[in-house]
């Protein structure tokens, strides 16, 4: 079965066939569908289950008093929405679906048992959390220091690498359901400014955007423009050249 959670963690560790079967069974056990804009996790609400994105796209966000929104992260298949569940009792931000999204829902106690019995899993979850934090740091650098073109280019290149690692691209064509408003809220820009920046990237022959897809026409130049350094994604086994894992994104990093 297509298990993007395993595909993501495989960047860090290898699972035995038995361990893979166990993770597959767990992911298949309980799934929940979310409509676009539907909350998966709500700020200040108690948490006692883990949500792993299986299909679709979601966002971590905060709403401000005046209705403004800051998006802290885009979550793609394989991403865990709430590693907090083991330590914290309430969410300090919200997670919502952007497109129709399916999550595997895993009770916290089941996860605890799993962490004891599937030895590579606990380190892999740590790796995932550390990597998510590193991605968040890039958003901080975006907002603090990168100019508009670098910011948007960097995010696009990062999404391409992340989609590649879970095998969700057709070469350099990736899913792109992110609207200009969402992109604006993720980069601290406005939608007209996003449009102008995307138009310039298109005119420079770097990208092509359709309704639901983006094609990166010239990954090398996009990477140069954005100053992208793949180190923060910690694609350890890709860098070590491990077979199919390395094939997925190896040429980009």
């Amino acid at each position: 079965m297509f298990n993007p959670w395993i595909m993501k963690m495989e960047q860090f560790t290898a699972f035995t066939p038995e361990q893979r079967a166990r993770l597959d069974a767990l992911v298949a056990e309980r799934q929940q569908d979310y409509a676009p804009d539907e909350d998966i996790l709500v700020e200040d609400q108690p948490i006692d289950e883990c949500h792993v994105i299986l299909t679709g796209l979601a966002m971590r966000y905060k709403l401000l008093r005046d209705g403004e929104r800051q998006i802290m992260a885009f979550l793609i298949p394989g991403d865990l929405c709430d590693a907090e569940v083991f330590v914290l009792d309430r969410m300090d931000h919200s997670v919502a679906a952007i497109t129709p999204t399916t999550c595997a829902v895993i009770p916290a106690d089941t996860m605890r048992t799993l962490l004891r019995e599937v030895s590579p899993l606990s380190e892999a979850l740590w790796w995932g959390t550390m990597t998510d934090l590193a991605v968040l740091r890039e958003r901080l650098v975006d907002i603090g220091r990168r100019d508009a073109r670098e910011r948007v280019a960097h995010l696009i290149y990062e999404m391409l690498v992340r989609y590649r690692t879970i095998g969700a691209t057709d070469d350099d064509v990736m899913p792109w359901p992110i609207t200009q408003d969402e992109l604006a809220d993720a980069t601290g820009m406005t939608s007209v400014h996003i449009n102008r920046t995307l138009r310039q990237l298109r005119e420079d022959g770097l990208i092509e955007v359709n309704r639901r897809e983006m094609t990166v026409l010239d990954p090398d130049r996009l990477r140069q423009l954005s100053g992208f350094n793949p180190n923060y994604l910690h694609l350890i086994r890709t860098q070590q050249g491990h077979g199919t894992v390395a094939e997925r994104a190896g040429d980009l990093v």
């Binding site: 100019d147 508009a148 609207t179 200009q180 408003d181 820009m189 406005t190 939608s191 007209v192 400014h193 449009n195 102008r196 138009r199 310039q200």
Partner: protein, 78 residues
Amino acid sequence: MPRFHFHLRDRTGFTEDVQGRDLADLEGARERAVREARAIICDDVRAGCIDLSGSIEVTDGGGKVLLTLLFSEAVQKV
């Protein structure tokens, strides 16, 4: 809520807003246009250029122009 589109005309050319944004009324659209213009002016200033000759053209879904906000109206010269 009606949908408004915010097209940009500036020194870099014409940037079409295909997606648009839902807002309560034309007054809300005007406020939004001011914010959009200011964001573009800010970015240009960071790049070392002040261009107040641009404008934001607000249209409805059918492409009818509802208002044109000049950059020079979005900021005050003191």
